[in-house]
Symmetry: C2
Subunit: 229 residues, 2 copies
């Protein structure tokens, strides 16, 4: 086992800090990639260290266990997805805004897909994730509701309050679990970000029957682009 | 460790077989209950044996590892859900048929909810589940398609082929992941089968905008019953 010596002293702070932070960052990046590719339950800290060609001891110097790495990734994920979810509430939305919003949302989920892959197990194991994911899910429903209300108020969409509520919840469910469904349907299929496009299309299909004339036409045009092989 | 002696002989077959099968059945029942309550990753065979007040050796006599128990549960689950999925294709459906079908489907999922809770991880670990779950998902989409086509052909619903395809897929996603979503939104909430009702309502809400006059009225009536606290 490699013994990691903390070289930091009053002269060395600037000189030494950089490479150390670099290792820490690389651990986080490598873990995220491996978690996404193979599923978090199948990746140990030893596997991460091995992939990076560093000793388990070196990794342990930065993170005492896998949960610390997961939480560090989660903090960044949460900040990014909360920003995405906050964006569309700033003005009344049109159909293209929704399309764009869904794209950004699916991209966030794709980038951190390991969280969604085994979500229930992670929530059971980790109190931080349990509390914060709950808020993220509620935020998703809230943002989808704001978007729908925007479309209704500009006359682009016709839906009752109850219909909007049900639709917004379904949007959150579908966005959160689309990749899991794709995976269950084809576990050995190529995992590529093209799956995002199909997800966006499926969510838009739920909006579609509530849209009026022009907006519906625009949606169908956008859909045709998406359904192209 | 308890040594289990196989008492079976040419005279004892009938006498001895019954209690042995009984233990096997109890292992399966207890495992299903514990997997559903605590999640399969959190339940070891030792926990199952302990819950039953039998020795790990006695359990091991019937099942060599947890995967053998999971597969035995899966075979029954698959038979039951395939029956449920086959039923509505026998005649043209109306709105109440869909409601009933969704109820049966959600009840199956509820009964075996641990499969859906950590589905991706189970699929990665078990080749049998990987292949068969893929078929179950495809069957769900197929049955939902048949139901929609039935509604369209009897003039109860108005939807294009493309809309039916998207809707049927969304029905399968929502039915499969509704409980996971409920759990993520409220991990410490009481886990009760009332969550099924909300799931059925959310799926019906996706059908709703495609339904015409009378059918839509019937759906709204059924929904009001469901939304009652």
């Amino acid at each position: 086992m490699l013994i990691v010596v903390d070289n930091q002293d009053r002269h060395g702070v600037l000189m030494e800090k950089k490479p150390k932070r670099r290792t820490r960052e690389r651990i986080v990046e490598t873990s995220l990639r491996l978690f996404n590719d193979f599923g978090e339950p199948n990746v140990t800290t030893t596997v991460v260290a091995d992939e990076m060609n560093i000793s388990p001891g070196n990794l342990y110097y930065h993170f005492h266990n896998k949960d610390e790495i997961i939480e560090e990734i989660f903090v960044v994920f949460e900040r990014e997805i909360e920003e995405t979810l906050a964006a569309p509430t700033r003005r009344l939305a049109d159909v293209e805004d929704i399309w764009l919003f869904l794209h950004l949302l699916f991209e966030q989920i794709w980038k951190y897909r390991f969280f969604y892959r085994d979500l229930n197990d992670l929530l059971t194991r980790n109190r931080l994730l349990e509390i914060h994911f709950k808020q993220i899910m509620a935020h998703k429903v809230h943002t989808a509701t704001i978007l729908c209300e925007g479309l209704v108020s500009t006359g682009v969409m016709r839906a009752t309050t109850q219909e909007v509520r049900a639709l917004a919840t379904n949007v959150a469910v579908l966005a959160s679990y689309w990749l899991s469904f794709e995976y269950a349907c084809d576990p050995r299929g190529k995992v590529e970000s093209g799956r995002i496009g199909r997800g966006v299309y499926q969510v838009m299909a739920m909006f579609s029957p509530f849209l009026l004339d022009e907006a519906k036409g625009l949606l169908e045009k956008l859909s045709r682009e998406y359904l192209k092989p």
